[in-house]
């Protein structure tokens, strides 16, 4: 849809508010023009407005005009020959779009849509032709510009740089929400300058300044601040609609005591206003009263289309700061690989991170890594996780229910019982965003578990082939996640933009890998039992099975290593996959290895050190 240029006296008055942007853009486009020509050109420019989600033009259409962005933001994307779409740029105020088609004569090279409510200046082909006829040097300037763009020598427009403007939508009238928003604003200050506007303060700014409309005002606010928070009214209003049309991210803030039903504001925003599709990511913050835990989160998610949800304990500084890290793309996420008993090293790494002042904001993993990650996601620290696992392993043998080995060596009932006892909640109810990976045997692809019962996800993720029976979900057989993706950094990268710490348990040379011979079963038993005989190292069935589970995904792990911001690989060559008895030693290896690595990383990335979190942890510990 190409909007028609408007030319009412009201529009002309509005255009005058953008004269500086237009002059700068035209000077960039045409080169030096004398004042008379510039004024003539300015007088020919029309005004067009797009609402968020509107298409300015589509790839391949004939070009009859060019546009200059006056306020708002566009997205330029092309459809590739294989049908996939690639985003090229996000033109912002002062950038011109659509000029290439006017000069090359070909159709539009890309599709352009409004990702915010956008105001455009419009120049028709006739005006451009007339300009070039009277000022031939303009043609050379434009030609140079187009050649530079085609050869990639010119940085055309800024690529989108994370979230700049977030819309805060308080869903309820609640003291918890009233207290949360200023805390969030203050927490964001750690990552950049912040401006928080509600309808009153925005109106005051508009009245006090020279800008006549919100678009220009909000552009200015965004230019002078790293983060702009637009707080919507609690009820449908023009200001709420303005926020909706200008946000990179929409953050719904709910008080869980009010119930999960859609509010009037949501119905209006995503119903009426939502007819214009928003490109903003929609997220949900659920505020919980003190000393309560999240439950029934799935009911909140069932009635909303949410990209990500977060739980916050009312009054808890640490969890509010966590939301600020998510909003500013500074959330630290941890990805833990599988590796049997070597996975105890994860607890040492977690301890090193905690002591260094790094707060983990999201976790995920495969196999034993997923199991270790559940502790962090439930809000436990390394000591509590270690204690829980020690008690779980000392009370009951999770792999102790042997059976006739047709489907698997053990029945898995013991493990099911332990998991159901310790992990009775849904993944949605975890304090931190979490995922577990399993391998879908039926579809031959990785399955990411982000919703549903936690114990089932973990059970699927740790289902070592031949040792534990596969789990069944939607008719698909699921086995250990380590088979297809033992270090799922790529999955985390798709979810979050912040730094990722990956912990891999692979070793260069497996323990006991130097075999001089492959003994028969009887020889192996004799070497172990008879006195005077030297023990023979043998690749036992269980060890081979466990090594095979991670062998298949080594290629994925190598590429995951490059995606991670901090890659940790504790030296665990002396420990076997089944060394359950060496729990303490393995934890210690993980800890001692990680401390210098983490310190070194923090020296280079001091913004991720969280002293406030340490003090909070201390207070919590003392009161506990």
């Amino acid at each position: 849809m190409i909007p028609e240029p408007l030319s009412t006296s009201e529009d002309i008055r509005h255009l005058k508010g953008y004269t500086d942007i237009l002059e700068e853009a035209l000077a960039h486009f045409c080169g030096n023009l004398d004042d008379a020509v510039m004024q003539t050109l300015l007088a020919r420019i029309g005004l067009a407005r797009l609402r968020v989600g509107d298409t300015l033009y589509r790839q391949g259409e004939a070009g009859t005009s060019m546009h200059i962005v006056l306020s708002g933001r566009l997205q330029v994307r092309v459809t590739m020959t294989d049908g996939s779409e690639r985003v090229l740029a996000h033109p912002q105020p002062g950038d011109a779009v659509g000029e290439m088609a006017l000069f090359t004569g070909a159709g539009r090279a890309a599709t352009v849509v409004a990702v915010r409510d956008t105001t455009l200046g419009v120049l028709d082909r006739g005006d451009i032709d007339a300009l070039v006829a009277s000022q031939p040097e303009v043609f050379y300037n434009v030609a140079q510009m187009i050649i530079a763009r085609l050869t990639g020598a010119q940085e055309r427009v800024l690529k989108r740089r994370g979230t700049r403007t977030a819309m805060l939508v308080p869903l309820h009238h609640s003291a918890a929400i009233e207290a949360f928003i200023p805390h969030l604003r203050q927490a964001l200050l750690h990552f950049g300058s912040v401006l928080h506007l509600d309808s009153r303060s925005a109106t005051r700014r508009l009245e006090a300044g020279e800008d006549e409309e919100y678009g220009r005002l909000l552009d200015e606010c965004e230019r002078s601040h790293d983060f702009v928070l637009l707080e919507a009214d609690r009820m449908p209003s023009a200001w709420s609609r303005t926020c909706y049309g200008y946000a990179d991210r929409i953050v719904l803030i709910a008080d869980v005591s009010m119930g999960p039903a859609l509010t009037e504001l949501e119905q209006w925003l995503f119903g009426a206003a939502g007819t214009h599709r928003s490109y903003a990511e929609i997220e949900l913050v659920l505020l919980h009263a003190k000393a309560t835990r999240p439950t029934q989160t799935r009911e909140w998610l069932a009635v909303r289309q949410i990209r990500q949800h977060y739980h916050v304990q009312a009054g808890d500084e640490a969890s509010t700061t966590r939301i600020a890290r998510f909003l500013s793309d500074n959330a630290v996420s941890l990805v833990l690989a599988g590796g049997g008993a070597r996975g105890f090293a994860h607890l040492g790494v977690i301890r090193a991170l905690h002591e260094s002042g790094i707060t983990v904001d999201a976790v995920g993993g495969a196999s034993f890594g997923a199991l270790a990650a559940t502790g962090l996601a439930r809000g436990l620290d390394d000591r509590q996780i270690l204690e829980e696992q020690r008690l779980a392993f000392s009370r009951d043998d999770p792999l102790g229910d042997y059976t006739i080995p047709i489907v698997s060596l053990v029945r898995g009932e013991h493990l099911n019982r332990i998991l159901q006892t310790h992990l009775p909640m849904d993944i949605e109810d975890l304090w931190l965003p979490f995922f577990a990976i399993s391998s879908d045997l039926s579809a031959n692809k990785v399955r990411v578990h982000e919703r549903g019962p936690l114990w089932r996800a973990i059970r699927a993720s740790v289902s070592l082939p031949a040792i534990l029976p596969p789990t069944l979900e939607d008719g698909h057989l699921l086995i250990d996640g380590g088979i297809l993706n033992n270090l799922p950094v790529d999955v985390m990268r798709d979810k979050l933009r912040g730094p990722i710490i990956a912990v891999d348990l692979a070793v260069e040379k497996e323990h006991g890998a130097e075999h001089k011979m492959i003994p028969s079963g009887m020889e192996y038993i004799k070497s172990r039992l008879l006195p005077g005989r030297q023990s023979i190292e043998a690749p036992t069935v269980s060890r081979v099975i466990l090594q095979v589970t991670t062998l298949a995904s080594r290629k994925e792990v190598d590429s995951a290593r490059k995606l991670a911001d901090l890659y940790l690989n504790p030296p665990l060559g002396n420990y076997d996959f089944l060394d359950w008895g060496s729990m303490r030693d393995i934890v210690e290896v993980g800890y001692r290895y990680s401390v210098p690595q983490v310190r070194d990383w923090l020296r280079r990335n001091p913004q991720h050190r969280n002293r406030a979190g340490l003090a909070t942890a201390w207070r919590h510990n003392l009161t506990a």
Partner: protein, 395 residues
């Protein structure tokens, strides 16, 4: 510190005593069953040892009541009594028989695991006394083929006894492992708490000082040649006094903004916040940070209060040599000393005559500023040169 001693009341049940009582009843019952079979089936003389039968029925209960709930030597006396009873039954059955060997083996086992060599010796003496009491025909042979039932019972007794013991030991070992795990967890919790407390304590110090303290265990004073010192004073609307909460919130804002601009908070006093930067760009960073701080406080106070109620800051800037260190180590009181620190305080006293929402810089700072746009030179009440930047109309 006086040592406390844990004592048990005689009525108090010791851990495991209930299980020992049950085992004793079982053991006595089986021994009596062997005695009955011996008298009735093997020897055909029922009622020969009626007194021993009656004593055997009463013995475990009486012994438990009198001795079973005590620890130490008194508690071990019951095991000696066990020997007396077992010896009496052995004497009644005959020494050279399989059942007697079973009873002797079980008794020896009990004494060995419960008390060691001295208890074995005492138990054996008691057993011989028992043999002497009832052993009228201790070596009398039993007619062949008559006592298959007794041998079978002896075998059952042996197996049952050791099965029960094995189960109990399994339970004990499990409990021990559990206790060990809980003990280790408690140690870990204590270690963790200490580590966190240490780190939180270090949070009292500026970041670089805390790191040095954590690394070396002490904090020698540091001489810094070219530090930029920034003293922020926060004013409240309508001349009101801030509450502790409001001040805390304002200082948190200072922390966040100044840290981002390369400054470390040194200390606060009253409405003042003292920070220091070691980078060469310190003066320019300080101006940017002050501007952002003032804008933030101005913009966001108005959100929750009336439009006219605005907080603002006055930033006093000086640079020069200082010495930083712990002036009260026991309180972790970190401070700055030196001419530059004194000059900053002197500047601050002169700055009270200047309006709020300003940056007041010393000539030393002015010389180091890369961008001095907007600064105006003036003189303080003592004739000291000052350079003032208004933050009211921030760009």
């Amino acid at each position: 510190m006086p040592r406390t001693r844990t004592t048990f009341s005689p009525r108090q049940q010791l851990p495991g005593q209930g299980q020992l009582y049950a085992i004793r009843v079982l053991f006595t019952g089986m021994a009596l069953a062997m005695l009955v079979i011996n008298d009735m089936v093997c020897r055909g003389q029922p009622g020969t040892h009626l007194w021993l039968l009656l004593a055997g029925v009463a013995y475990p209960h009486v012994a438990h009541l009198l001795l079973g709930r005590h620890g130490g030597r008194r508690g071990q006396a019951i095991l000696v009594a066990d020997g007396l009873f077992a010896g009496s039954v052995i004497g009644a059955i005959g020494l050279l028989s399989a059942p007697s060997a079973v009873l002797a083996a079980i008794s020896l086992f009990n004494w060995t695991i419960m008390g060691g060599a001295s208890l074995v010796a005492m138990g054996m003496i008691a057993a011989f006394i028992g043999v002497a009491i009832t052993g009228t025909q201790p070596f009398a042979p039993i007619a062949a083929g008559d006592c298959t039932a007794l041998d079978a019972l002896a075998a059952i007794v042996l197996l049952s006894y050791f099965f029960v013991i094995a189960r109990l030991m399994f339970g004990f070992i499990g409990e021990l492992r559990q206790q060990q795990a809980e003990l280790q967890a408690a140690v870990d919790v204590a270690d963790g708490a200490r580590a966190i407390a240490d780190r939180a304590l270090l949070g009292v110090l500026p970041g670089s000082a805390a790191d040095k303290f954590a690394e070396k265990g002490n904090l020698p004073s540091i001489a810094i040649n070219n530090a930029t010192l920034l003293l922020i004073e926060i004013s409240w609307p309508r001349g009101e006094s801030p509450t502790i909460t409001e001040l805390a919130e304002s200082f948190q804002v200072c922390d966040a903004i100044l840290t981002r601009h390369g400054f470390e908070g040194i200390k606060t006093f009253g409405r003042h916040y003292l920070a220091m930067c070691r980078a060469n760009t310190g003066p320019d960073d300080a101006v940017r940070a002050s501007r952002e701080l003032n804008d933030y406080l101005r913009d966001h106070q108005a959100l929750v209060d009336s439009p006219t109620a605005q907080r603002s800051v006055r930033a006093i800037l000086h640079c020069g040599a200082v010495t930083a260190g712990l002036v009260q180590p026991e309180r972790f009181n970190f401070d700055l000393l030196g001419d530059a620190a004194e000059a900053l305080l002197s500047l601050a006293s002169m700055a009270t005559a200047q309006p709020m929402a300003t940056v007041i810089a010393s000539p030393a700072v002015r010389r180091r500023l890369q961008d001095a746009t907007g600064f105006v030179a003036t003189y303080g009440n003592t004739g000291t040169e000052l350079h003032i930047l208004s933050l009211v109309a921030s760009p």
